[in-house]
């Protein structure tokens, strides 16, 4: 009846409000995520610069650091970054599917594997699948900071250095744009001594620049900030003396590099999640408006019919009175 329709319209209206609010919240959080990336920029920039200059000076030496050691791979650790919440379209599913595909691939190659799950959604997913060996469950946190990255870094560091695993891969969602993101696999360890990171196909992914660039240039004012930082770091004397053995310095730098290599994917993963939520909520909002229009039309038609019916009755009654 009419009352049911009215109720339905009201509930759709509520849904619309909620989805709109969630969209706005996600949008605000995207901005915060971008800020976090910008704040981390001086660090990663200086780090890359230092690594680069040290690399130049070390090029001739043969470097052996525990993190760069290449061993024949027997066991692989997969770090899977998921979100903490749902309602973000296919975001969590996409990355978990990617993880499953990778696991199947490793099985085919006859390699052992273990999973380090980051994020609540992934945790519950792997909890439901006890046949997948999980080394550790970690919480993602609402905004990834160096602390979260450090927890993961410590974990993979000890896994790798104790030779429990011979390769560490990070599965995360790469942020391409607000409407597009890709689940990708990224090899964390062993680090190749040149500071380059190779993906699964052996293609080199440039370590430092492009991803940050995409995130920061979204808003005009962020670009300005970036330029300021850039000009500040340039005027450093390139002639440096090493206080310790170059290998020791590299030993100190590589964990930092590892940390930033984990932090950035975490940030990107969060950005992708928020972007996915934004678009999911935005289409939910659109659907709700459409539904509301349709329902209102039906409701109006029904009211109209009812009124017409009442008028007809009254008129008919009137006529009968007159006739009598």
């Amino acid at each position: 009846g009419l009352k049911d329709l009215k109720n339905r319209i009201d509930s759709v209206k509520n849904t619309q409000k909620i989805t709109e609010a969630m969209k706005l919240v996600a949008a605000a959080k995207v901005r915060r995520a971008q800020e976090a990336v910008v704040n981390g920029r001086p660090f990663s920039e200086t780090l890359v610069e230092v690594l680069y200059s040290i690399n130049e000076q070390l090029q001739t030496d043969d470097i052996e650091s525990p993190l760069t050691k290449l061993r024949p791979v027997k066991k692989v650790a997969l770090v899977v970054c998921t979100g903490d919440r749902g309602l973000c379209g296919g975001f969590n599913n996409a990355i978990l599917k990617k993880a499953e595909a990778r696991i199947a691939e490793l099985k085919e190659l006859g390699l052992e594997y273990t999973v380090v799950s980051v994020g609540r959604k992934g945790n519950s997913y792997f909890n439901r699948r006890p046949y997948i060996p999980v080394d550790r469950f970690l919480e993602g946190g609402s905004l990834p900071t160096a602390k979260e990255a450090q927890t993961i870094a410590d974990d993979v560091f000890s896994l790798f250095v104790s030779e429990e695993v011979d390769k560490v891969e990070l599965l995360y969602t790469k942020f391409v744009s607000l409407v597009k993101s890709n689940p990708i696999i990224h090899t964390l360890l062993p680090l190749s001594p040149k500071g380059e990171i190779c993906d699964i196909n052996g293609n080199c992914v440039d370590a430092a620049e492009d991803e940050l660039f995409r995130l920061t240039t979204k808003e005009g004012k962020l670009t300005v900030e970036r330029d300021v930082i850039r000009s500040k770091t340039v005027d450093f004397s390139p002639i440096l003396q090493f206080e310790q053995d170059p290998v020791q310095i590299l030993d100190a730098l590589l964990p930092l590099y590892l940390n930033s290599q984990i932090l950035r994917p975490l940030q990107e993963s969060l950005a992708s999640e928020l972007a996915a939520r934004m678009s999911a909520m935005s289409s939910a909002f659109d659907n709700a408006s459409e539904l509301k229009t349709d329902l209102t039309r039906v409701y109006n038609r029904a009211t109209q019919a009812k009124i017409t019916g009442e008028i007809l009755e009254i008129v008919a009654g009137d006529i009968e009175c007159i006739i009598w």
């Binding site: 900071t145 450090q150 000890s158 310790q244 310095i249 964990p255």
Partner: protein
């Protein structure tokens, strides 16, 4: 008589201003740095950093990293840095005890590596507080 000190963590800039003197815990022992220091690059241990501003000493706990000194400009890259005044003494003590207990019951190479790392971090945080208290009294 001052030079610029910049302490960076992946999250934020912890410190970026002029100081008079600093004492760094490097992998090969503590070094003091004054103005016009020769350009060097050094690995930093998990340890404390002491900063002198005019006549006041400040202490920070650094969680390992790297420092580059040159041109009266010092850049320190660390995974995490905490100012001694931001550390809760009770909590730091507790963490230290937990870390010690963990190391005692650690089994296998991997657990020992992890326990050692967290113990050293906990120790440094306590050390930073102790250092500050010493300065005040």
């Amino acid at each position: 008589m001052t030079f610029n000190l910049c302490v960076l963590t992946p999250n934020r800039i912890v410190w970026d201003s002029e100081v008079k003197e600093i004492i760094l815990s490097t992998n090969s022992g503590q070094i003091g740095v004054l103005q016009n220091h020769a350009p060097i690059a050094t690995a930093l241990d998990i340890g404390i950093l002491r900063i002198r501003l005019k006549d006041r000493w400040l202490t920070m706990a650094l969680m390992g990293g790297f420092a580059r000194i040159g041109n009266n400009e010092i850049t320190i890259l660390v995974t995490d840095a905490e100012s001694a005044s931001d550390i809760n003494p009770q909590e730091a003590q507790q963490t230290l005890q937990i870390a010690e207990a963990n190391l005692n019951k650690a089994e296998g190479k991997r657990e020992t590596i992890e326990a050692n790392l967290s113990l050293r971090r906990a120790k440094t945080r306590v050390e930073a507080i102790v250092e500050t208290i010493k300065r005040i009294s």
